[in-house]
């Protein structure tokens, strides 16, 4: 097989190593541009140069090694790109893995396409082969580079790439490996159903397969973004509906206030004429109850959170819960709206569920505090509880029904907070259940690409 391979390598001049190196560096670089950076500013320039030299150096070295090392060299090349992403971007291993496969497949396509065109021109035009090859390289890389920039910019604008799940990683890994194997099979063995016979054919197959790979990878990302957008649109629609309901409610409220005005006058007259202390007290209580629903007004500086709190206020009033909230909503803006609603929705629901069953009404207390301390966001939910708590797999459950629901709510809060590099801590002391969330505030650097 090696003999056969050697003969092929002699007939099809393969891509010069430095062409591959430039492609690998370039497409890793473009991916890096659109991921969150570890350090801001120009100190990265030196790092980029360093990695370019490393990638180039490795490719030139790999070029001098015997063909048996080909696979292992490819794996090392991918690992170098992987390390390149990790040193510059603040991303998880999954995310870096996901993007290195995209960068590598892009680089394979670019190098393959460029070399196919270059080979064709070299065969058909006499002389000046170096210049032709260099020009082709520049044009092809520039075009593909621009296409990737346009695509990545779009994704970046939607800001959804922080969630790369294990499944996403496995599926791109599968695509990457398959594409890579099929596209290079002609270089390893001519005698397969998937191999080409002639040089131009072999080069063309490789480009085509790489192109298919890139299309697959990007269609997967498009699909992911579409799912993300529709989920977002759904929630926004839901919020808008709520907002509309609130607007309707405020119209109704105006009428109710009018009504209350007449009621008030009526009560004042009653109170004036009433001499019985107990009866007076009863009127006053009635009066107080009738104005209570007008209390719930939340202005935290974060409109979606306000809507959520107002929505929960109905339940809070219904169960006669003493709910107090101190909230600096302005600093929540770096958290995606869906994540935010999920955190607060789950935590407040859990707290309501826990206190509503307390018999003594004055013990139904829930407290919420949201504040910023320097560059740290802190969120604290407190609720009183009567019963003992159970702990299963580190999740706190009340002794009441709905166990799976409670565990699930906290789990989902933990997952979201983890994604933002934060921390969740639960404490249960002196009949107080406290959920504390700490998240390092991410400065918005989207204008800083």
């Amino acid at each position: 097989m090696v003999n056969l391979l050697m003969s092929i390598v002699h007939t099809v001049p393969d891509i010069p190593r430095y062409h591959t190196a430039i492609a690998e560096w370039l497409f890793t670089f473009v991916i890096i541009l659109y991921l969150p950076k570890r350090i801001k500013g120009n100190s990265n320039l030196l790092l980029h140069a360093f990695w370019f030299i490393l990638i180039l150096g490795f490719q030139l070295l790999a070029g001098t090694m015997p063909i048996q090392f080909w696979i292992i060299n490819m794996i090392i090349a991918v690992l170098i790109m992987f390390a390149y992403i990790l040193t510059i971007n603040r991303v998880s291993l999954n995310t870096a893995g996901y993007f290195v496969i995209i960068a590598f497949t892009m680089a394979e396509l670019a190098a393959s396409l460029e070399w196919q065109i270059s080979y064709f021109l070299q065969v058909n035009i006499e002389g000046a082969t170096d210049i032709i090859s260099l020009l082709t390289l520049m044009v092809v890389y520039a075009v593909l580079f621009s296409v990737v920039i346009v695509l990545e910019k779009r994704y970046k604008a939607r800001n959804f790439q922080i969630d790369v799940t294990k499944n996403d990683l496995w599926s791109v890994l599968l695509i990457g490996i398959t594409i890579f194997s099929i596209s290079n099979i002609s270089f390893v063995n001519i005698q397969t159903p998937f191999s080409g016979q002639y040089p131009s054919e072999i080069l063309y197959i490789r480009t085509l397969v790489d192109l298919a790979g890139v299309i697959l990878l990007y269609s997967q990302r498009e699909h992911k973004m579409a799912v993300f957008s529709s989920r977002e649109a759904y929630t926004m629609q839901h919020l808008l509906n709520k907002q509309y309901e609130q607007f309707q409610q405020s119209i109704k409220n105006a009428e109710i206030v009018n009504q209350r005005y007449h009621d008030l006058k009526h009560y004042i007259n009653l109170l004036r004429s009433e001499t019985d202390i107990n009866q007076k007290e009863a009127y006053l209580n009635e009066l107080e109850q009738s104005i209570k629903p007008h209390e719930a007004q939340y202005k935290t500086g974060h409109s979606e959170l306000d809507i959520l709190l107002t929505q929960k206020a109905v339940e809070i009033l219904e169960h006669q819960i003493n709910f107090t909230c101190v909230a600096d909503g302005v600093h929540l803006k770096f958290i995606n709206v869906l994540d935010l609603l999920s955190i607060f929705g789950n935590a407040i629901d859990n707290a309501i569920e826990s206190v509503r069953s307390i018999e003594q009404i004055d013990k139904r207390i829930i407290k919420l505090a949201i504040f910023k301390q320097n560059q740290l966001l802190f969120i604290k939910f407190d609720n009183y509880f009567n019963n003992e708590l159970n702990v299963i797999n580190g999740n706190y459950l009340t002794t009441k029904r709905d166990k799976t629901y409670h565990g699930f709510g906290l789990k989902s809060i933990k997952n979201i907070v983890d994604k933002y590099g934060g921390n969740v801590k639960i404490s249960t002391e002196n009949h107080w259940f406290t959920l504390m969330i700490l998240i390092p505030i991410i400065e918005d650097d989207s204008n800083n690409v």
């Binding site: 003493n322 560059q375 390092p440």
Partner: protein, 236 residues
């Protein structure tokens, strides 16, 4: 320990209720109070003395409202615990401006009052500090643990960083960690012992304390974040 309490409230009847609650709390929990009462925000702020542990502050008052009074108080006193009392929840929502992260709603049942008071007293008790002795050329000086930003291990020596200066003393970081245990200190790395009270940011694997950036070692990252959460949670 006697706890100094100020009540700032223009409704005298409600002031009476609070005083009765404090009496009841005293008999139930055996805590002694020194109580000061004011009938408007401007009374406590004019010629303010930082002698209170806890201030119960009505939000709606005629001359100087609770929020403005709290702002003035904070200029002179960062430590005092301020608890707003209001019947309008929407006025207290921005209490974070003055470090009032919890408030009480009128009408105020004894239960809610006593729970809040218990929490505040716990907070007061958690404000522990300790003096450590440092030998210098000019003799031994006493350094309060709350002044320490962090401590760095340096060969067989330790470097203690405060805002104003640094001290180099002999010793191991392990011993220092034991000495300061139970306070707000955490080993974020084998060479650093940081005061969580001064952490202003966490960026990736680095903790920012004033102008210093210190590495958090990977295996300690999770427990560091937990300790920090616990610390901030315990101070509010």
């Amino acid at each position: 320990m006697k706890i100094s309490i100020a009540i700032v409230e223009d409704n005298l009847q409600f002031t009476e209720t609070l005083k009765q609650y404090l009496e009841r709390y005293k008999t139930e929990n055996g805590v002694e109070f020194i109580t000061y009462t004011f009938t408007d925000g401007d009374e406590i702020t004019s010629d303010y003395e930082a002698k209170y542990d806890i201030i119960f502050l009505d939000v709606e008052m005629k001359r100087l409202d609770g929020m403005s009074a709290a702002e003035t108080i904070r200029k002179y006193d960062q430590e005092v615990i301020i608890i707003f009392i209001t019947n309008m929840a929407q006025y207290a929502i921005s209490g974070y401006h003055v470090g009032a992260l919890s408030f009480l709603l009128k009408p105020l049942p004894y239960f809610a009052f006593s729970q809040e008071l218990t929490k505040s007293i716990e907070r007061l008790r958690k404000r522990k500090q300790k003096a450590i002795l440092i030998p210098t050329e000019n003799g031994i000086i006493k350094l309060n643990s709350q002044e320490i930003l962090f401590i760095e291990s340096f060969g067989h020596d330790l470097i203690i960083y405060t805002e104003k200066q640094t001290y180099q003393i002999r010793g191991t970081i392990k011993r220092m960690e034991e000495e300061l245990s139970g306070l707000s200190f955490f080993r974020c790395n084998h060479g650093y012992l940081v005061n969580l009270a001064y952490v202003s940011a966490v960026k990736g694997d680095e903790v920012i304390i004033k102008t210093h950036q210190l590495k958090i070692s990977r295996p300690r990252k999770k427990s560091f974040m937990l300790a920090l959460t616990q610390y901030i949670g315990g101070t509010v």
